[in-house]
Every structure is written in structure tokens, then in C-alpha cells.
């Protein structure tokens, strides 16, 4: 059996582990267009901020590939896919045949068209790839950059800001929505983080965006916002979002929607072709529809399920839901599922704010089941809320304890708790 995996991040690595648990002999080949062994994208902000060195970016070491007998092809882009003949072509013309293919190529940063901005404008960066992060660091160091502008105050934008501030670069962030982190947080949580940003010297501009940029000698020099405000800068980081990378499946019969559509076995519409991670559109546990949920745990789980199915162990992907854990400006934050429910659709919201401690807990319920949560500066035991969502536990009897500091397994019905903690092989 020849297994071919395109991409070398969370989904790919978990697929390899799953395949090798079943098939010790088959050939596994990984192709990545990046030169490095592997690295954890969420760690790039820690690297930018100087909290960790480059050698700490990898989440699996070289021995991993040896131990699992993986043939690694690095620094080469997969450009062609022929699902009839079952082969993938690389940019240099090399042809790789496969029996089972996993596409786990992740996402590509979105760069909206902005007047005056060109692909090759100097001083403009995205922030999801190591090579880009390295170019960014070089640029900051060589030009002794003191000030930067970040477009987009989502999670990637905020982590970039944090890294920049740690390097002593002053930051202005421009967000189109009326608050930061609008996709993950509610207004209260957003305002707590915004206060922290401002306290650290970050200027936050909301409800505005860049209308055009001025360059000099091909290098960015000044931004003009929609509001007319002008901001001189020689560094712009674009962090407005990421979309699934569909490049390889273009002009093939592999069905795509927003991402590559996969079934419960992580197989695409074409037999023997699987997809996982940020490029895939799999089951969303909460909406029961297919959705792209571009987070690490989803990539890891989908990769594992794909690997098992590819090696012949039929395994169903249970569907996960959106969740994020991000420490922002030293505030630990975790959010699950539906965080800002629409009015009048039967949702119930519990929340508790402690301004002095900057701690905030919010639980969203529907029909007495937890469907979402936000936790700021109060993350310990967060996973228990996640478990309540996944297990669909009726919380009517202990609703009043959900926000308590002492919240834990004790509030659960005894039989369920005993089953949970005694379970020989509890699998989330």
C-alpha cells in the first residue's frame, strides 16, 4: 500500500501515527512545500516575540519520521492531481503514484485587494507561515522598525500584535467590525482584551479599514483609511483571515464547497482521496452541517480518522466544534461553540464578570444543554464545559453552579460521573 500525504502539519502527523498503528509495512510519503521538518503555526507568535527559539517550533522531531518510516519530500509543491491514474505531480515534474492520498494542505491567508498594494510591495506580510515570519523578523531588525500596523483583530492578528509588542514595536490595529475578536468573543470579553491591548500601548481602531496605500520605491509608506485617517507606516501585517487551500483539487472531480468536502470517514467525493485539517470541510458537531473549522484539535482528529480509514480500519469522525484557547496579553482565554447567540431563538445566557480580576465566565445554553462558553482568566476545568457540550448533558439540576469557582465533575449526576472517571478507555 502506498500512502501519499500532501502537507506536513497537525493532520499529516496524526495520520502517520494512525496509519503506522495499523500498517507497519506500507510506504508513507509526505510532501510539503515548506523546507522545514515541521512546525506549529500557533507558535509563530511566540517565536516573533522571542519567547521561544526556532528549534522549539517543531512539534515532532526528526526521529518521528524515522520511527514511522516516512519518506519526506520537503520544499516541493504538489501541483497536479490525477485521480483517475492515482498520481500527484510535483512542481519539478516528479510524479508520485498513490493508493491512498491525504490532502492536508491547510489554509492560505486572505489578502484583500487594496488600492496601491501589490503582491511584491515591500513591508507587507501575512502571518501563518514560518518563512513569512522569518522575513518579518529580518525586516524589523534590518530596518529597525519601531511602528507597525496590523489589519484585522482576530486571533491571528492579536497574536501577531502580542509578538510585535514583545519586540518593542508599537502597534496600531485596524478592525472592520465594531469590536476586536468579534468571531470568537462577545462584547464583554472583547472589551476586556481591548483594555489590555490599550494598556500595553496598542492603538485600536475599529469600524474602519484600509482604503489605499502609498508606496515609495516599492516599499509601503502610508495608509489611508476609509474614514480618511492617514497612518504613516513601513510595516503592515495583513491578518484578516485564512481560507482553505484548494489549489491542488482545482480542475479535478474532488468536490469542494468552502473547503474540500469530506464524508464521515474523511474521504472526499473521490474514492481513495482523503482530506483533513484547515483545507477540509467536515462535520460540525453543533450545527450538524459540514463546515471548515480551522483549529488544531480538529486537524489532529481528522488526520487520525483519515489515517485509520486509509489503512483499512473503518472509523467515523464524530464531528468536533469550534473551540479556541489563546493566551492574549497574558490573559488565558478559552471559548467553545456558540459564544454570541442570536436574540429570540431560545438561547439562555449565564455570565459572571469580575472586573477587578479581569475574569469573565459566560455559558450559553439551549434547551438546558450547554452549547457555548467563554472563559477569561478562569480557564482551569474549561474542558468540563466542553465535555458537557459534547455529551449533551441536561444541566437543569445544576444550572446555578455552572459559573461557580468550584464548578467541576461534582455537579454531575453521580452515575454519569462514576462512569466518566472510571471509564477504562474514555475517548473524547
Amino acid at each position: 500500500m502506498r500512502y501519499l500525504i500532501i502537507g506536513n502539519s497537525a493532520a499529516a502527523v496524526n495520520a502517520v501515527e494512525a496509519i503506522r498503528g495499523v500498517d507497519k509495512e506500507g510506504d508513507i510519503t509526505i510532501v510539503s512545500d515548506e523546507e522545514v521538518l515541521n512546525y506549529s503555526r500557533p507558535l509563530l507568535s511566540y517565536y516573533l516575540g522571542g519567547r521561544i527559539a526556532e528549534d522549539r517550533l517543531a512539534f515532532r522531531d526528526e526521529a518521528f519520521y524515522k520511527k514511522h518510516k516516512v519518506d519526506l519530500i520537503l520544499g516541493k509543491r504538489a501541483t497536479g492531481l490525477d485521480t483517475e491514474k492515482k498520481r500527484v505531480t510535483l512542481a519539478d515534474g516528479q510524479v508520485l503514484p498513490y493508493d491512498r492520498l491525504l490532502i492536508s494542505v491547510g489554509g492560505v491567508p486572505i489578502v484583500p485587494p487594496i488600492e496601491g498594494l501589490r503582491d511584491d510591495t515591500t513591508g507587507v506580510f501575512t502571518f501563518i507561515q514560518l518563512r513569512e515570519a522569518k522575513r518579518l523578523i529580518d525586516y524589523i531588525e534590518q530596518d529597525s522598525i519601531q511602528k507597525a500596523v496590523v489589519l484585522g483583530a482576530g486571533l491571528i492578528g492579536l497574536k501577531a500584535i502580542e509578538g510585535l509588542l514583545e519586540r518593542g514595536v508599537r502597534v496600531t490595529v485596524i478592525e472592520l467590525m465594531d469590536r476586536i475578536l468579534a468571531n470568537t468573543f462577545d462584547a464583554e470579553a472583547s472589551s476586556i482584551i481591548e483594555e489590555r491591548l490599550t494598556a500595553h500601548g496598542c492603538t485600536v481602531i475599529k469600524g474602519d479599514t484600509i482604503a489605499r496605500v502609498k508606496t515609495r520605491g516599492g516599499k509601503i509608506r502610508q495608509l489611508t483609511l476609509k474614514s480618511g485617517k492617514e497612518i504613516p507606516t513601513s510595516l503592515l501585517i495583513v491578518a484578516v483571515g485564512v481560507r482553505p487551500n484548494l489549489e491542488l483539487v482545482k480542475r479535478t472531480s474532488v468536490k469542494t464547497d468552502r473547503g474540500i468536502v469530506v464524508d464521515e470517514f474523511m474521504q472526499t467525493s473521490v474514492q481513495a482521496v482523503y482530506a483533513s485539517g484547515d483545507c477540509a470541510q467536515g462535520l460540525d458537531f453543533l450545527s450538524k452541517e459540514n463546515a471548515v473549522i480551522a483549529i488544531w484539535p480538529v486537524a489532529a482528529r481528522q488526520g487520525r480518522v483519515a489515517g485509520l480509514n486509509m489503512s483499512g480500519v473503518q472509523t467515523t469522525y464524530p464531528g468536533l466544534f469550534a473551540m479556541n484557547s489563546v493566551q492574549i496579553m497574558d490573559v488565558p482565554t478559552i471559548s467553545f461553540g456558540m459564544t454570541t447567540p442570536p436574540e429570540g431563538e431560545g438561547y439562555e445566557v449565564l455570565h459572571r464578570l469580575d472586573r477587578a480580576k479581569s475574569s469573565y465566565k459566560k455559558i450559553v445554553l439551549r434547551n438546558d444543554r450547554v452549547v457555548g462558553a467563554i472563559l477569561l482568566n478562569a480557564v482551569e476545568r474549561a474542558g468540563v464545559y466542553g465535555m458537557l457540550i459534547r455529551e449533551g448533558i441536561d444541566v437543569k439540576e445544576f444550572k446555578d453552579q455552572l459559573l461557580s469557582d468550584a464548578f467541576g465533575l461534582l455537579v454531575l449526576p453521580k452515575e454519569f460521573r462514576k462512569h466518566l472517571v472510571a471509564g477504562e478507555s474514555f475517548v473524547a
Binding site: 484557547s325 476545568r381 466518566l420 471509564g423
Partner: protein, 151 residues
């Protein structure tokens, strides 16, 4: 053989000796007085203790067969020890992103506010013969069993 801790809440008296001895075992000195009076910051216990009215129990990492914390770990700091099946945590690699806390259904991973804030969890007393909480539980509310490898 893989060790696992079984807890039995009916036997728990709420004395919290498990926590006291867990902290002692995780201290540098392994001495109960020094651990509590001489070492700063005091080691974080690997136990989450829950109590309300007559019900109490001590909970520690379940060392899951397919640990969601290892799957979610961004850095590779959390891993399954191939020999013993224990879920272990490398503090040096940990950056404190709390992905593990987000996905642990038992809520047994804690924040350790040491020099850097990192995750902290039970390692089944890797340096000792038997887990300290098991040894020092006076009423067998915490016991250890050996489980056979799943084939």
C-alpha cells in the same frame, strides 16, 4: 503493564492527605515540612479535589488510552510514554497555550505559575514505586490497578 488510578468517592473522607503527599512528592526535598514551609513557589498538586456536603473525591489525570490533551498539544510537550502508557508533560517545551485544558474532559490539568506559566498534571509519581496519593490514602478511596495492554 500500565498503571491506572481508580477513585472511589464512597470511601473518600475528605481528609485531603492525597494533596499533601502529592505536593510533597513533587517537591525538590520530598520532605513534607520543607515542601510546605521551605520551597517557593510551592509545587502544584496533581490532584483536583472536589467537595460539597458529604460528597468528596480526589481526581487526577486519567492517563487516557487516546488522550485528547496529547492530540491538542501544539508543542509536543504532552506525550504518551511508550513504555508505561503514562501521559507525560515536558515543562520545557510547554508555552502555556492551554489547549490541553480546553480539551481535557476531566479538568485535571492546572496552571503552574512558576517562572513561566506552564501546564501541570499528574505523572503517576514517575519517580516513586507507587503514586503518593494512593500510598497515603487512609481509606482506599484512591487505589492503583495494573491494566493489560490493549491488543
Amino acid at each position: 503493564m500500565k498503571k491506572r488510578i481508580i477513585i472511589n468517592e464512597e470511601y473518600c473522607m475528605g481528609c485531603r492527605l492525597c494533596e499533601v503527599y502529592c505536593v510533597t512528592q513533587r517537591s525538590r526535598s520530598k520532605d513534607i515540612l520543607k515542601a510546605y514551609k521551605g520551597e517557593y513557589p510551592r509545587p502544584v498538586s496533581g490532584i483536583v479535589f472536589e467537595e460539597k456536603g458529604p460528597i468528596s473525591f480526589a481526581l487526577q489525570c486519567r492517563h487516557c488510552e487516546e488522550p485528547p490533551c496529547v492530540e491538542a498539544c501544539l508543542t509536543g510537550a504532552l506525550y504518551v510514554d511508550a513504555e508505561t502508557g503514562r501521559v507525560l508533560h515536558d515543562r520545557e517545551r510547554c508555552v502555556g497555550c492551554w489547549m490541553c485544558i480546553m480539551v481535557c474532559p476531566f479538568g485535571v490539568i492546572k496552571l503552574d505559575h512558576d517562572e513561566r506559566v506552564v501546564a501541570s498534571k499528574c505523572d503517576l509519581c514517575i519517580e516513586a514505586e507507587e503514586p503518593a496519593c494512593v500510598v497515603h490514602c487512609p481509606n482506599e478511596a484512591i487505589t492503583v490497578v495494573e491494566v493489560k495492554e490493549k491488543e
